[in-house]
């Protein structure tokens, strides 16, 4: 009945001892990103069988390629829903369910795609041109589809023969192949579409190395190895279990404890701890997307509405916007907020993209010039600016760093935090001065620009509207010569950098934590771990 005083005393001091352990965990000096292997294929040989547990950082939305909009959703699709095209380790487009690259004719308005032969969906239904037409038409025309914009250029899909489809375009659209390498190119089983109708996402069936088995809402998604897959011999694992673990510390802890063998999108402050564990390794991927902030310069009644004059110091005065950017030190931001683990840049297209002209440079921090510009503007300092940010710790830290850096130039930034959803609403409605926002990124530069910087684009929250941006982006989409496209995108990006409706800070890299016992994971720039040839090391 009476506990020994020694035991009680030991128990009483336990939390303090543990707190000391916990503190040591995160205070390690972070390694520079160069010490982390980048997007690669691990070629160690693997044995047959086994269940791989993967931690996802968020709960995917509906597993329906036509309506899905989350990056985590794409991570699951990458292993169960193949597309007409895919990307390889160097971000080149390669055929997946197509038998070759598309044949383009008629001034770019006729695109013929040959399909793989002898492929079946994971319910045994044959994969053919009719199935491709059914899926593409659903993506294009279903009123709820989030893919309609991706395939807006396509006006007709025809079955030429069982292994050939022909797409007729209203105008030439070079990014089409890249669109077909994402969800717009995912082909769903026609049988499952007929029986599931609008609720395909509850039990999705595609062509893929794994097939959907079950989903517990908010908790986990299970995929089983598919017996119908055309390249089934390549697939080693029996089962994939995606566990939704939102908290970054808990995600890292699960990886260390061995409860999961793979953890996606490690938070930058947990990367060093995972790297330090002798049983774990970290690979980096991603870099297609970006993060930064939008400045409201023309969004008066909604991002898709006609832009107007915004009556704020930053909105009215390009000099002040330049001063605001010049006050920022991107490298210092990267170090202070992200342990130096992202790729600093001031343009939306990835640094190594072939569509990016080499002459694009970023302004360095220049406080003297910033102060001079502020003074020349004649606006009385301190200039009040509100900065809207999602209320998570990392975004708040970024906001505070921006706040303190711009203070020296004469800005008085007040940080307004709200939940992510509310911040997006503010952005769309134009109810902000400056707003933190990012984009997960696409292989084709068009996906990082149209809708984001062109007039009345749905994600152009800052309301930029300029023919010098709109026209080259439009022309580049119709142009097939990569060099000419790069030139046009360069012109558009330079103009956007002058207007500063968006100020880009960095390209976000993703860090995938894995157990060293797991081999064969493909992790590319799109940040989607592919487990087709993964398994436990032999």
């Amino acid at each position: 009945m009476r506990p020994s005083p020694k035991v009680v005393a030991a128990l009483a001091t336990l939390p303090l001892a543990l707190a000391a352990c916990g503190g040591g965990e995160t205070s390690n000096t972070p390694a520079a990103p160069s010490s982390i292997a980048s997007a690669s294929t691990d070629n160690r040989s693997v044995k047959d069988g086994g269940t791989l547990n993967i931690a996802l950082n968020a709960d995917p939305d509906a597993l329906d390629p036509s309506i899905s909009t989350t990056l985590v959703g794409r991570e699951v699709f990458a292993n169960m829903c193949e597309k007409l095209y895919d990307i390889d380790a160097s971000s080149n487009l390669i055929p997946q369910l197509a038998a070759g690259m598309p044949e383009v004719a008629g001034d770019g308005k006729e695109v013929t795609i040959k399909l793989r032969d002898g492929v079946t969906f994971n319910d045994g239904t044959a994969f053919d041109a009719a199935a491709v037409k059914k899926s593409l038409d659903r993506h294009r025309t279903w009123e709820k589809s989030a893919r309609a914009a991706d395939l807006a250029a396509v006006s007709k899909v025809e079955v030429v023969d069982p292994t050939t489809v022909k797409l007729t375009l209203a105008q030439a659209f070079t990014p089409l192949t890249a669109q077909l390498a994402d969800r717009a190119g995912m082909i769903m089983s026609p049988k499952a579409l007929d029986s599931g109708s609008d609720n395909f996402g509850a039990s999705p069936v595609c062509v893929g190395p794994f097939k959907f088995a079950s989903r517990t809402s908010g908790s986990q998604i299970v995929l089983d190895k598919s017996a119908d897959y055309y390249d089934a011999a390549k697939v080693k694992l029996d089962k994939l279990v995606y566990k939704i673990i939102v908290d970054p510390n808990v995600r890292a802890a699960n990886l260390k404890s061995g409860d999961v063998q793979v953890a996606d999108q490690l938070a930058t402050n947990t990367v060093a701890g995972v790297q330090a564990d002798p049983n774990l390794s970290v690979v980096s991927g991603g870099g297609l997307g970006y993060y930064g902030f939008q400045i409201n310069i023309g969004n008066v009644s909604g991002s898709t509405e006609k832009p107007g004059a915004v009556d704020t110091p930053l909105g009215k005065n390009p000099q002040l916007r330049e001063a605001f950017e010049l006050a920022l030190d991107r490298d210092a931001i990267n170090k202070a907020v992200y342990n130096g683990l992202h790729e600093v840049d001031c343009y939306p297209v990835p640094i190594d993209s072939p569509y990016r002209p080499k002459d694009l440079t970023c302004p360095k921090q220049d406080l003297a010039k910033a102060k001079q510009l502020v003074q020349a503007s004649g606006v009385q300092t301190p200039i009040a600016v509100t900065l809207a940010t999602p209320n998570d710790a990392v975004n708040q830290r970024l906001a505070q760093v921006i706040q303190s850096m711009t203070k020296e130039a004469g800005f008085n930034v007040s940080v307004q935090t709200a939940e992510f959803v509310s911040v997006l609403e503010q952005g769309k409605a134009g109810k902000f001065d400056v707003l933190l926002s990012g984009w997960s990124g696409r292989v084709d530069p068009d996906g990082n620009l149209t809708n984001l910087v062109t007039s009345q684009g749905s994600n152009n929250y800052g309301g930029m509207s300029d023919a010098g941006i709109d026209d080259p982006i439009k022309q580049a989409a119709a142009e097939s010569d990569p060099a000419k496209r790069a030139e046009l995108y360069g012109a558009a990006m330079k103009k956007a950098a002058e207007l500063r409706g968006v100020v880009y800070l960095y390209h976000n890299l993703y860090y995938l934590g894995t157990h060293k016992t797991v081999a064969g994971i493909q992790y590319f720039k799109d940040g989607l771990p592919r487990f087709i040839s993964a398994g436990f090391a032999a």
């Binding site: 009945m1 009476r2 506990p3 005083p5 009680v8 005393a9 128990l11 009483a12 939390p15 543990l18 707190a19 352990c21 916990g22 965990e25 709960d59 995917p60 939305d61 509906a62 597993l63 329906d64 309506i67 899905s68 909009t69 989350t70 009123e143 709820k144 589809s145 989030a146 309609a148 914009a149 609008d198 996402g201 509850a202 989903r215 517990t216 809402s217 908790s219 986990q220 566990k243 673990i245 939102v246 908290d247 510390n249 808990v250 802890a253 699960n254 260390k256 404890s257 061995g258 409860d259 898709t304 939940e419 992510f420 959803v421 509310s422 997006l424 609403e425 769309k428 749905s458 994600n459």
Partner: protein, 319 residues
Amino acid sequence: MFWFILRRCGSAVLVLFLSSVLIFLGIRALPGDPASVMAGQEASQAAIEAIRKEFGLDKPLPAQYLDYVGQTLTGNFGRSTQDQLPVADILAERLPVTLELSLLAMVVAIVIGVGAGIVAAVRRGKLADYVATAFGLAGLSVPHFWLGLLGILLFAVTWRVLPASGYVPFTEDPVQNLQRMILPALVLGTGFAAILMRQTRSAMLGALSADYVRTARSKGLSEAKVVGAHALRNSLTTVVTVLGLQLGALISGAVVTEQIFVIPGFGKLTVDAVLTRNYPVIQAVVLVTVIGYVLVNLLVDIAYAFLNPRIRLSGGTRD
């Protein structure tokens, strides 16, 4: 008695109606449009409109309310806007998980809290008392998320004796289920144990100084019998009252614990649904919770009336 029960049922229905209106209006007062959340960043205006239409969000508020009540009365709460799964299925999956967690946490709280309370009272002014009191203070002050992370770090990462997080249904694998529930139950139960400890201690102190305890001692009863059979028994009424009052708090405390331990329970569902403006799920979750509270209160009222006739007569009703 019949009229008393009928009257109570009538007021329960009124409470349910008023809460359904409050829930309905409350979530719509939040900024953020569920259709655009669901459609995502990339969606066109047409897709957002289509979703709004599908979920009836384009209708005027009274019509939306009638849809909601109509659906609820037939036990069909609609489909979740997040993953398109039927809300009724999600609730059926989630509710037992939180109930299990709360129940286990309660067991933890009773064992630790009542035990420590007795020790503290019996050893008043001695080391054990100070340690138990310090534990009580710490238990009340330490936030669940911190304790949870600490538990994971120690038991799962350092010692590797328990899984870090996750949930396995009891029917699937009872051992795994308990292994995964121990840590969350301990974390959730600690704060509650602290409250119980303090209540038990003060009730026991009162009882131990009472005349009947002195009598029991002078009769030559063993100390264990005096404490267990006499003092504790008389202190339990307070403990049981607190236990009942805290049950609700325990379920709401599960919100944080479930987030940390990735347990697919009611609390996690609520937070996720609010963050994604998942109207059908929020409406269903809050309504089911209100129904739970109303039912418990109704049963308590009826039980009181059975036990104490003055209560059923005080309202001027006759049976």
